[in-house]
C-alpha cells in the first residue's frame, strides 16, 4: 500500500527554489516533446532549432533581445498587478492603446518637432494611453465588482477592433497604396537601433529602468507594502486601513502604462506605422503573464525570464519557417511550461513523503 503524506514545508531556501524551477521546466520540456512527437514533429530537432535559432547566432541573440524588450516592460507591470491579485489579462490591449496614442502624437506633432522632443512625448502619450485603458477594468472592479479577468479580456477584443477601425478608416495611410496601415512616422519619431540589429535601445533602457523602479516600489515603498498586503490577505488590508480604491487604480495605471510604453516602442522602433493588432502586439500581453509568473512576480527576475521566453518566441519563428509549424505552436510552450510551473509551486510549498508498506490495512 502506498501511503502519501503531504505536509507544509516550513521554510524554503533559494537553492530549493532554483532546483524546483529547473525541474519544473525540464518536466515541461519533456511533455512538450511528447506533444510534438504525437503531432509528427521530431521533438529533438524542434527544440534544438528553437535553441539555436534564438541563442545560437549573433542574429538570434539580437532578435531575442529585441523581443525581450516588450516582455520586460509588460512583465514588470504584471508582477505589480498580480501581487495584488489583480489578474490583468488585458496587457495586449493596453499595449495597443499605447501604440495608438503614441502614434497619434508621432504623426501629428512629429513633423514639427525635433527628435529629442518628439520621442519622449510619444512615450508619454503611450504611457497615458495604456494607463487609461488599464484604469477602466480597475474602475469597473471597484465600483461594480466586475471580475477583472473578463473585463480585461473583453477590452482586448474591443481595442483590437478599434485599432482595425482606425487603420482602415480615418487613419488610413495616404502613402500606403490602400493597405490597412497608417502612414509612416516621420524620421524624427523613429527610434534608433543598435547597429546591425533591430534593438531599439531607448525602449530597452526604459524597460530596464522600469523594472528597477517597479522592484524598488514593491520591496521598499509604503505603497508596495500595501500592495503585498492586499495580495496576501485582502481582509487584513481592509483592517489595516489600506485604501483599495486608490491602490487598485495606481496599480493598473502603472501596469497599463508600461504596457503602453511597450506598444509605442514596437511602433516607433520596429514597424514605424500602425497595422493589424496581431502584428503589433504579437501575443506579448499573454506571454508576459508567464514571464511574470516564472519570475515569481519579482521585477528583477523578470529580465531573465523575459529573455528566456523571448528566446522561445524567436525560436518559434525559426521553426515556423523551417518546419512549417503554425504560429500557435508557441502557445503550446507557454501553456505547458506555465502548467508545470504552477504544479512545481505545489511541490515547493509542500513536503511529500511516500511510504511503501507491504501490509494491507
Amino acid at each position: 500500500m502506498l501511503n502519501i503524506k503531504v505536509s507544509d514545508r516550513e521554510s524554503i531556501t533559494p537553492r530549493q527554489s532554483m532546483e524546483n524551477l529547473i525541474l519544473s521546466l525540464m518536466a515541461g520540456l519533456i511533455v512538450i516533446s511528447l506533444i510534438f512527437l504525437l503531432c509528427g514533429v521530431n521533438p529533438l530537432f524542434a527544440i534544438m532549432k528553437i535553441f539555436t535559432g534564438s541563442f545560437g547566432s549573433p542574429y538570434g541573440i539580437k532578435e531575442t533581445i529585441t523581443k525581450a524588450i516588450p516582455l520586460i516592460l509588460i512583465g514588470g507591470g504584471l508582477a505589480l498587478a498580480f501581487r495584488a491579485k489583480f489578474w490583468n489579462i488585458g496587457a495586449e490591449s493596453q499595449l495597443l492603446m499605447g501604440a495608438i496614442f503614441g502614434t497619434w502624437v508621432g504623426l501629428n506633432w512629429g513633423p514639427h518637432l525635433p527628435a529629442p522632443v518628439i520621442i519622449p512625448l510619444m512615450f508619454l502619450a503611450g504611457f497615458v494611453g495604456g494607463a487609461l485603458w488599464g484604469l477602466i477594468p480597475a474602475f469597473l472592479k471597484i465600483k461594480f465588482a466586475i471580475n477583472e479577468v473578463i473585463s480585461t479580456l473583453m477590452l482586448n477584443y474591443i481595442c483590437a477592433e478599434f485599432l482595425k477601425l482606425l487603420i482602415v478608416g480615418p487613419w488610413k495611410g495616404k502613402t500606403k497604396f490602400g493597405f490597412p496601415y497608417t502612414d509612416d512616422l516621420p524620421d524624427t519619431a523613429i527610434l534608433g537601433l543598435l547597429s546591425g540589429s533591430r534593438i531599439h535601445y531607448i525602449t530597452l533602457l526604459l524597460a530596464i529602468v522600469s523594472v528597477i523602479v517597479l522592484g524598488v516600489i514593491i520591496y521598499k515603498t509604503r505603497f508596495g507594502y500595501e500592495v503585498r498586503v492586499i495580495g496576501e490577505n485582502p481582509d487584513a488590508a481592509k483592517y489595516a486601513g489600506i485604501d483599495f480604491f486608490r491602490t487598485t487604480l495606481i496599480i493598473m495605471g502603472i501596469s497599463g502604462g508600461v504596457a503602453g510604453f511597450a506598444g509605442i516602442g514596437e511602433v516607433a522602433g520596429i514597424h514605424h506605422h500602425l497595422s493589424y493588432p496581431d502584428s503589433i502586439s504579437s501575443g506579448y500581453g499573454f506571454t508576459a503573464i508567464i514571464v511574470a509568473w516564472l519570475a515569481k512576480l519579482n521585477p528583477f527576475y523578470v529580465i531573465v525570464s523575459s529573455i528566456f521566453f523571448a528566446g522561445i518566441l524567436v525560436g518559434g519563428d525559426a521553426i515556423q519557417i523551417s518546419l512549417g509549424l503554425p504560429a500557435a505552436t508557441v502557445q503550446i510552450f507557454n501553456g505547458t511550461l506555465l502548467f508545470f510551473l504552477i504544479m512545481g509551486d505545489f511541490f515547493l510549498a509542500n513536503k511529500i513523503r511516500l511510504n511503501w508498506s507491504l501490509k494491507r490495512s
Partner: protein
C-alpha cells in the same frame, strides 16, 4: 418580411447554441467551486478534434463524440492542478487556454482550407417543424441545438432536484460541511470540471462541424470568454443561461444585419464584447456584493488532513 424574421430567429439560435453549451458546462464546474478559465482552449481543441475525426471518418457524430471525450480528457490537467495541487485557478485556467489554442493550431494546420464534405446536417423534427413560423425556427435546427436545450433543462433539474445536485452545490458553498457528511469533495470537483470540459468540447464541435464546415485557427474567436461572462450573467443557473446565450447569439447576428446600414463592421464586431461588459455592469449594479456566486468559488479546498 416574415421570412426575414424567421431567418433572423434561426440564426440567433444557431449562434447562441455553442455559447449555451459552453455555459452549461462552466456553470456545473463553477457550482462545484472551481473556476475554469480554460474554456476557450478546450473549445478550440473540441473544434479541431471534431473536425479531424469527421473529416477522416465522414461521420459527424463520431466527430462530436470525439470532441466531447477529448474535451473531458484535457480538462483533467486543470482539475489536477486546481484540486489536487490547489494551484491558483486563474493561472491554471489560462495555461489550459494557451495549451488548447496552441495544440489545436498545430494539429489543425494540415486541415486548413479543406472544407468538410459531410457536416452535421440540420435535423428537422417531423410534424413540429411544419408548424408555421415556430416550426422552422425551433424545430429545424442542428442536433446541437436540441442537445443544448435538453441538456440545459437536465442540468438545471439535476442541480436543483436531485441528491447529486445538492452535493455539487454544497461542495461549492461549504466543502468542509460536505466532506464531514461523507461527500467526496475531490471526486465531485473532478467530475464537474471534467464534465464542464466535455461541454466545452461539444461547443467547439458545434463550431467546426455545424456552424461552419471548415477549420481555421482562432475560430473560437473569444467565445470561450463570453461563456465565462455568461456564467455570471446566468447567476449560475442553467435556465438563465438558456436565455442569456440566445440573447448573445442575437448580438452576433445583429452584426451582420446592421452592416448594410453602413455602420463600420469593426464597431459591430465589438458589440458582443461591449454587451458582455454592459451585462456584467447590470448584474453588478443589482447586487454588487456577492452575486449569488458559489461561496467557495475559486478557493482551493484543503482536507482536514490529506
Amino acid at each position: 418580411m416574415e421570412d426575414i424574421v424567421i431567418s433572423i430567429a434561426q440564426r440567433t439560435l444557431i449562434a447562441g447554441t455553442p455559447l449555451l453549451l459552453g455555459t452549461i458546462g462552466e456553470v456545473i464546474c463553477e457550482r462545484s467551486g472551481i473556476l475554469n478559465l480554460g474554456v476557450e482552449g478546450v473549445m478550440a481543441i473540441g473544434a479541431v478534434t471534431a473536425f479531424i475525426v469527421t473529416f477522416l471518418s465522414y461521420n459527424p457524430w463520431l466527430g462530436l463524440l470525439a470532441a466531447v471525450i477529448v474535451g473531458m480528457l484535457i480538462s483533467i490537467t486543470h482539475a489536477y492542478a486546481s484540486i489536487t495541487l490547489q494551484s491558483n485557478q486563474v493561472v491554471s485556467g489560462l495555461a489550459l487556454t494557451m495549451l488548447g489554442l496552441g495544440i489545436s493550431g498545430l494539429v489543425g494546420k494540415p486541415y486548413v482550407g479543406k472544407p468538410l464534405e459531410i457536416k452535421m446536417h440540420l435535423m428537422p423534427i417531423p410534424i413540429l417543424s411544419d408548424i408555421p413560423f415556430i416550426g422552422p425556427i425551433f424545430f429545424n435546427q442542428s442536433p446541437f441545438f436540441y442537445m443544448a436545450v435538453v441538456l440545459a433543462i437536465a442540468a438545471w433539474f439535476t442541480l436543483e432536484y436531485t441528491k447529486v445536485g445538492i452535493k455539487i452545490r454544497a461542495t461549492g458553498e461549504y466543502p468542509k460541511a460536505a466532506e464531514t457528511q461523507g461527500v467526496n469533495v475531490s471526486l465531485i470537483k473532478y467530475a464537474c470540471v471534467i464534465i464542464g470540459g466535455g461541454f466545452s468540447g461539444l461547443a467547439g464541435a458545434n463550431l467546426s462541424i455545424s456552424y461552419s464546415k471548415s477549420w481555421i485557427e482562432g475560430m473560437t474567436a473569444g467565445r470561450g470568454w463570453i461563456v465565462i461572462a455568461l456564467t455570471i450573467f446566468a447567476l449560475w443557473n442553467p435556465m438563465r443561461a438558456l436565455i442569456g446565450a440566445f440573447l448573445f447569439g442575437g448580438i452576433f447576428v445583429l452584426q451582420y444585419l446592421l452592416q448594410p446600414l453602413g455602420i463600420s463592421p469593426n464597431f459591430l464586431a465589438m458589440l458582443p464584447y461591449i454587451t458582455t461588459l454592459f451585462v456584467l455592469l447590470m448584474v453588478g449594479l443589482k447586487d454588487s456584493k456577492k452575486l449569488n456566486a458559489p461561496a467557495m468559488l475559486g478557493e482551493p479546498y484543503k482536507r482536514g488532513e490529506s
